[in-house]
Amino acid sequence: MPGSPLTRLRSRVTILIFLILVPTTIVMLLNFQTQWALLNSEAQEEMQRLAQLVATRQIQLTESAEQLLRTLVEVPEVQSGNCNELFMNLIDQFRNYTNLYLVDADGFTVCSGLPVDPTASFKEQNWFKATMAERGFTTGDYAMGVVSQRPVVSYGYPVFDEQGEIPYILGVSLDLQWIEGLVDADLLPAYTTITALDRNGTVLYSYPAGTETIGAQYHPEIYALLEDQTLGTLEATLEGGVPRIYGVIRLTGGDTVLVGRDQHDVYADSNNLLVRNLLGLALVALVAVPLIRLRAYHAFVRPVEDLVDKLKRLAAGDTSTRIDLATVRVVYEMHELGSVINQMAESMENRQQSLERDRDRSEVRVKLRAKEMEFLVDTSRVLSSSLDYEATLKSVAHLTIPELGDWCAINVMEDNRPRWVALAHLNPRIQAEGERYLHQYELVHDNLPNAVLQGTPKIYNDNLEEFVAELTPDPAIARMLYEQMLAGGIKSVLLVPLVLRGKVSGLIALVFAESGNRHDLSHLLLGKELGRRAAVAVENSQLYRELQRWSQNLEQRVEERTRQLTDVNHELETFSYSVSHDLRAPLRAIDGFSQALIEDYADQLDEDGQNYLRRVRAATQRMGALIDDLLELSRVTRREMATVPIDLSLIAHEVIEELQTAEPDRKVEVIIQPGLKADGDTNLVFIVLQNLLGNAWKFSSRQEVAKIEFGTTRYEGEEVFFVRDNGAGFDMQYGNKLFGAFQRLHHNNEFEGTGIGLATVQRIVHRHGGWVKATAVIGQGATFYFTLGSENRHEEHGKEAYFTGG
């Protein structure tokens, strides 16, 4: 052996040094591997937690949209399709929505908060089709808003009529740019990315901005991996070529949220430590080598062998292995080395144990988060299930116990006064006692606590004095309350404000007492989320109540008016009947007996006397005519209208024939445009033409060649009917008196008339939704223009039929 280069001390020492350094390095690397695994597990858990947080916000946005739509379908304006103004106001108030719209069953817009192309149909939009098919709330896909030119997601909600058909669909577009504000950037670790996808894998938003293209398809190879994950992690190199750890959550609807963190960042501290340890090891080796050279082989070969053996066991994973420092104390460095190895082994053992503990804890935490998610989903379901918020909040209060407190009390501001609306305890008997106490408390308290008004939730664990100070400014009452709380065994209070758009509308008080639990950060976060959702529900239902009150009031007023009108109409009818029957009878007697006098006593009356009697009779008959016309005027107002398509040309011919029969000697040139059609009540339209053509007939009687025309023309841009004559005309100065009852522009000895005909005409055209106007020149004739509603129809232009009387 001597002489062999391998057996030389130098060589042996060198070999020895390797023997020591190699396993030591291995141990160190093993140690770091454990550390990396721990860091990785921590990062995964953190990413999952963040993904859940973001997902919760996303669910909430969808639920808010659903609640808004659910509330709106109840509103009368929406049901009647008259909602442009309402929508304009709403999108002005809710800036996170780019537009609200009501579309009919063919997809055409009925109303909209923003101006839209009325010819464009939503029929092919997936949310429209989905809402029609599912007959319920649906979420559409990512789209670029046509009007807003911003990325949006649309939601649809059907409006049902009484037959269960869907005449309208209500839609709302959520501005995706709004989502970015949901994540508190300063809460995130450095180099964190957030990406949300819709059910088709389209990117809805990404943080920081520009990491992913909004609206683009997400990396398909990654998206394929996500298909059946509900909650998980993955490692991938995507954005900017940076390897990342991703927390993934996939929601029921198929939406996905990914939160990623740079792996380099995760391991940075650990890697620095590794470099330092390696350097330290090298230093130890450098110091040890000269010492080893001086010592005898036996002095350290055995210990080294022992070391190597132990190190092997360590390397095999037996972290409980320790080096017996007594065997290596001969050499200081060996002793040091041994103790360093022991420390490492201990640290490894600790880490391994801590890793195992962390794994257990992590599992517990994931289970807890799943439970929290479930709780929030349950809460949301309860909150959006009904518009009666008192009942709803009572159910919510019961959902919070025992997880968030042994007690839960909810207070809501109503008419600027706080009111306890819900109290929950697992034991109904204790709950009943608590309710009595709560009502006493209401008396000393007329505003929400300041801590609540600040809008952030707060925990009171060991500072219950501070809590009672919030409740009352009076130190004596505070003292009393504090003692009552201690006596009641209250340990911890979590005060959560109900906040919506910066406005505090109430509070949720969660109290731990007999369970001895204390509120911590997770309770606080969950409570905050609950507060936000409850506030939305409270606002929605208050809004709904107000709407209901308003519409009930309106209905009542309409009913009252209708009743008044019916009464008045009834009175009018009775009056008309009396007029019709009773006023005519004496007139008949006057006329009849005057005639009898003229006939039977002619020899006893001189010419004057007979003349007077004739004038009595003329006046009587005129009064009879007036009564008849007045009756007709009142009848055209009262009579029910039966609107049918009618032929005005035909009616005009009938009227003219009647007039001609009554005065067979008159020669009048009558031109009636054929095929004049309109929708109206035949009897009433007959009265219109009877009066207008009758007037034309009467006032053209002094003309040598009388001419009457009936047709259509354009008047102030509108297609209207006209009746024209070349008769006496009238002074336009008095034109405004023309349509009043008893207004006449001619003396009775010129032209006979009661002055009621045109008033009757005006009432009839008004009842049809039309108007009547007249123009005239004295001595040259008059033209009357009228419409029957907006739709005057006529056919066969150009052909004219001539009807010449004589």
Partner: protein
Amino acid sequence: MKSMAKKLILLVDDNPDDVDLTLRAFKKAGLMCEFAIARDGVEALAYLQPHTQPAELPRVILLDLKLPRLDGLEVLRQVREDPRTRLLPVVMLTSSTEPDDITRSYINGANSYIKKPVDFNEFIETVQRLGVYWLAINEAV
């Protein structure tokens, strides 16, 4: 055809002026007939009852609508219910031109509905036509 002489008309009207004028109008129209006058609905129905033993039923009833005690429509209804009188011609002779009155009269079985005109000359003309039609032209049961 029954005998041309002595045709009986039942005139139901509460207004004595109207009764006189109607009688005068018939006279002026040159119609030979006899009148029974009832001043309200109850009298009219009483006249038509068998225990009063009228020599014969009237050829036609001229019935006003607005009557004291029992109104014209009720009289008409009961006349139509009684098998003895249900085929009697009934002419409504009234002041009302309310469409409701006209409709209800025909629904209850009126044979004719005539408005009393204010102009007496017109009334004579109307009465003449009415008399000729119901007493001479019309073939009653």
